[in-house]
Each structure stands twice: as C-alpha cells, then as structure tokens.
C-alpha cells in the first residue's frame, strides 16, 4: 500500500506511517524533510518535527537540514508563478518599515527624528589597526552609495520613500561617517562627558554618555536581547516641562549592536527606552525597560 520505490525502482528504506509521531518514533525524521519543506504539515506536526530534530544526533540533524535545504531550492526553481503586484504595494510596505510610521501625533517634524543617527560600532569604537580598513570599507561603501543614488534609484522610490528615509535615521543610516568627524566620539570624548550604565529590564545594559557642550548623548547597548518578534525598542526624551515624550528613533535587533546619537537634549529630563510594536508608537508604552535621568 505504499510507494516504496524510487525513480530507479530501488526499494526505499522505510515506508511511512499514517501519522508523524509514529514516523519520528520509528526513526524516519529525515524522510519527512520534503513534506516539511513543502509546508504540507500542520503546525502541531511542524513543532513535533522541530522538537525531534533539535534533539537528534548531529548526523541525523544534518541530513534532515540538508534534505530540507535541497527541497526548498528545488521548489524555488520549479514553482515560479509570477504576477505583478499592485503599483502602490511597495509604498505601503515602506510606510510600515520601523520608524517610517512618522510618529503619529508627533510633537516634532521629521528633521527632529533624523537627528538620531546610529553608526556602526567600528566607527565609534575604533581599534588601532582594523579601524583603517574599516574606514576604507566605509568610504567604498559610501562611494557606491552615492553612485547608486545618482543612477539607479527608481523614480517612485524618490517620491514615495523620501520621508521614510529621513524618518529611518534611527536604524542605521548613519553608518558611513568618517571617524575623525565621528559625532559619537566627539560626545564620548568631550571634556564634560559624563557616563552612566543602567541595567536593561530583560537583560544587558545601556551605557549613556552625555555631553552638555555638544547638547547630545550617545547610547550603547550591551548584551541586550533582541526585541521580541513584532517588537522594537524605541528611545524617548522626556521633556522637563512634562510635555509628551518625544521619540528619538527605533532600535531593532540589528541597531542594538550600534551606538545611537541623540541630539537636542537640553530640554530633556530623562531618556527612556520602551518596547513597542514594529513601526514604533506615538507615545511610550510603559513600563520602560531602561531609563536614565539626564540632569542637564
């Protein structure tokens, strides 16, 4: 009652049972790789297979993963239906990118959000020798960036996404800064720099370096777990006058590894970090995972 022959008529090793748990118990996990790759299983069955494979001997796990990978490549090559999506779909997607949702009810214009920049860690924390290489890479990347923006940028992107590009400042646009002009180091190394490290609720720490003369602070997260699925970290300045906190940008899992620069801190009483839905919120959702009074 089972197809147990392969294309060459050889007897395949093991016939399937009707249910997945029996297959797993009988050592047929690897034979389930194709059905798994095809999503032809229920969620519960997927969980059962995942649980089995994660606890399986390395060789079996590797075989399973290999077969899944091959099956997925095969499917991607073979099932190639195409259809043009609606013309405005990309604009709708861009509008939902983290920080692109321009802080509904925002107290400040886009430019304020754009003040928050996040640089690559290497630029902010240079080690003597590799820093040179990193600078070259940054420069090369920046050149390509400029070239591409001149030539290749789609017209619709310019119109549609320009606002989002500005608003996105919080998530890594500023990674190309040359080291000597690095505003992060300028803040961190300022004569009046003060620094505090606070625990982040959920793990890790946030180190805040603040310079009144630069009217800026730098936040660096260390060992902070990535936000839960569908969430991002959002930074806020809490004004001294008790008005609504002002978003300073979002940090997704990637941005966590990079320092963030916050300018215009003169009127702020504190810096707060909250967990918000992807895209950010107009007002902070309490409790904060970290907060630091600024005492400016």
């Amino acid at each position: 009652m089972t197809d147990t022959n392969d294309s060459r008529g050889r007897q395949l090793p093991r016939a399937f049972a009707a249910d997945i748990p029996t297959d797993l118990a009988a050592g047929r996990a690897v034979e389930l790789a194709e059905i798994y790759a095809l999503d032809a299983i229920s969620d519960a069955e997927r969980e059962a297979i995942d649980a089995y494979v994660s606890g399986a001997p390395e060789a079996e796990r590797d075989s399973f993963n290999d077969r899944v990978r091959q099956a997925r490549e095969t499917l991607a090559l073979s099932f190639t239906a195409e259809e043009e999506p609606p013309a405005d779909l990309f604009a709708r997607i861009v509008a939902q990118l983290p920080a692109a949702a321009p802080a509904e009810g925002q107290a400040r214009p886009h430019a304020a959000t754009a003040e928050t920049t996040v640089a690559g860690a290497p630029a902010a924390l240079p080690a003597a020798e590799p820093a040179h290489a990193a600078d070259e890479l940054s420069a090369a990347r920046q050149r390509r960036e400029v070239r591409r923006r001149k030539s290749g940028l789609r017209n619709w992107l310019i119109g549609v996404a320009a606002a989002a590009v500005i608003a996105l400042g919080g998530v890594g646009i500023g990674a190309y800064l040359a080291n000597q002009n690095d505003p992060f180091n300028q803040v961190i190394e300022a004569q009046d720099a003060r620094q505090a490290t606070v625990d982040v609720n959920g793990g890790g720490t946030a180190t805040v370096s603040i310079s009144q003369s630069h009217d800026a602070l730098v936040v660096r997260m260390k060992d902070v777990p990535p936000p839960p699925a569908g969430k991002v970290y959002q930074m806020w300045l809490i004004p001294k006058d008790g008005s609504t906190p002002v978003s300073q940008g979002l940090m997704d899992a990637e941005a966590l590894s990079k320092p963030a620069l916050v300018k215009g801190i003169g009127s702020a009483a504190a810096l707060g970090i909250t967990v918000e839905p992807v895209g950010g919120s107009a007002t902070p959702t309490l409790p904060t995972v970290a907060a630091a009074p600024l005492n400016t």
């Binding site: 399937f16 032809a40 997925r72 490549e73 095969t74 239906a81 591409r148 505090a196 009074p293």
Partner: protein, 238 residues
C-alpha cells in the same frame, strides 16, 4: 496613555575625564570586532546591469542586496523588491487567490525581509529559496486560517489547469532553465506531480491531499517525498 516617569534612578552619572574615555574607546569589547567582520560589504560588481536571467544570477544579486538591507539600505530594499515581488505575489495569488489577502501576505513577507535580512545565512540556502520559503509559509498560514480545506480544494480544482511557467522570459538562459524545469517535472509520475502541486499551490497538508485524492496517507507522503527527490535529482540541486 500614561506619561513616562523618569523613575528608576538606580544609577548615577559619574564624571570622568577625556583620558578615561580615550582608554575605553581604544579597547572595544571583542564583540564589536566580530561585528566589523560581519559588516564587511562584498558587492564589488553591484552597479553592473542586472541580468534578468538565471536563478544563479538572480541569487548573486539578491545575496548582495540582503547584505545591504541588513544595514538598513532602502535603495537595496527597493531593488530587492523590484527583482522578487512578482514571484512573491504570484505565489501568494496561487495559494490564496484572493487579491487582498495576497497583498497582505506580500507586505508581511517584505517586512520580514527588511527585519531579518541580517539573519539570512548563505550556508542554509540561496536567497531565493529563503524568500520563497518565507513566502510559502506565510501564504499557507493565511490560507489555512482563513479558508476551510474543502474551500481550498474546490478553489484549487478550478485553478489547477494553469501551467506553472506562465511567465517564461525571453532571455535565452532563463528560457533554458525553465525548459529544464518543465522537462524535469515531466519525469515525475502524474500522481507525484499532482500531490506536490496540491500541497504547494493548494496549501494542503499531506493528510488533506490524501483525502482529496482518496489515497492512503502513507502513499501520499511517499509521493511527495519521491516526487521532490526526483525533481531535485533531475535539476541537479545539491
């Protein structure tokens, strides 16, 4: 909405001089050095005209773009979308039929690309397979939560006459590639093809495929496995 309180003041700012800062700055923790390596861009030929060709060409481009998307590069994201959105939306339409659900799915897929580009691992597959895996999973989740199996079967029945390669490009290489796929699909038995297609575009589980085809469950499992393995072997996927 409550206002944020600058509450938990379990910390203090300590004054420290520039020399201290200097020392710290010159000795980054080891983790930052690793980041440097991971951020190394590797796209020497990015500006070359995009050959609208084979899967290999496409995957090379997509891999470079994903590296940049991981750095939050919106232009690369736009290019990635331009190169792949027809595939993602096309698959969603096949699985979901409904245009709005298909748009929602496509939207979710590309948001996931933006957020998870850094997690893409070339060792575990090509960018296209990664993308289509995400897309299929999303589409299947959505169709299963929004439509009963019998609806899906009925829907699929009305739709299953479509050929898969309804958008074969004029490019010679990609045409050859598409022909290889057609030829390889033909090496599958009809029942194998049917089972794989029902699962892929119908969004059916192996159990539902068995019910629809009135076949034994172990038989369907074997057909799907054997069909995909035969296809893989014919296409030379390794």
């Amino acid at each position: 909405m409550k206002t944020l309180q600058p509450g938990n003041a379990a910390f203090r700012f300590a004054r420290h001089d520039a020399a201290t800062a200097q020392t710290r700055v010159q000795h980054p923790p080891a983790g930052n050095l690793c980041l440097r390596v991971m951020e190394t861009p590797n796209a020497p030929n990015f500006d070359a005209p995009a050959p609208p060709g084979t899967a290999v060409d496409l995957n090379q481009q997509l891999a470079q773009l994903l590296g940049r998307i991981a750095d939050s590069d919106q232009a690369s994201f736009a290019e990635f979308y331009r190169l792949t959105s027809r595939r993602v939306f096309g698959m969603a339409r096949r699985v979901l039929i409904d245009p709005e659900l298909s748009e929602d799915t496509t939207q979710e897929v590309f948001l996931q690309v933006w957020q998870n580009a850094a997690k893409f691992d070339p060792a575990s597959g090509s960018p296209l397979a990664w993308l289509m895996t995400i897309s299929h999973r999303r589409a299947v989740d959505k169709v299963r939560s929004s439509q009963s199996a019998s609806d899906r079967e009925a829907r699929y029945g009305a739709n299953s006459q479509d050929i898969d390669h309804d958008s074969v490009s004029d490019e010679v290489d990609s045409r050859l590639e598409a022909e290889a796929v057609v030829r390889c699909l033909e090496t599958l038995t009809e029942t194998q093809q049917e089972s794989v297609r029902l699962a892929y575009y119908g969004g059916l589980t192996y159990r539902e495929v068995a019910e629809k085809l009135n076949a034994a469950i172990p038989t369907i499992k074997s057909r799907i496995r054997d069909g995909l393995i035969r296809l893989k072997t014919c296409l030379g996927v390794s």
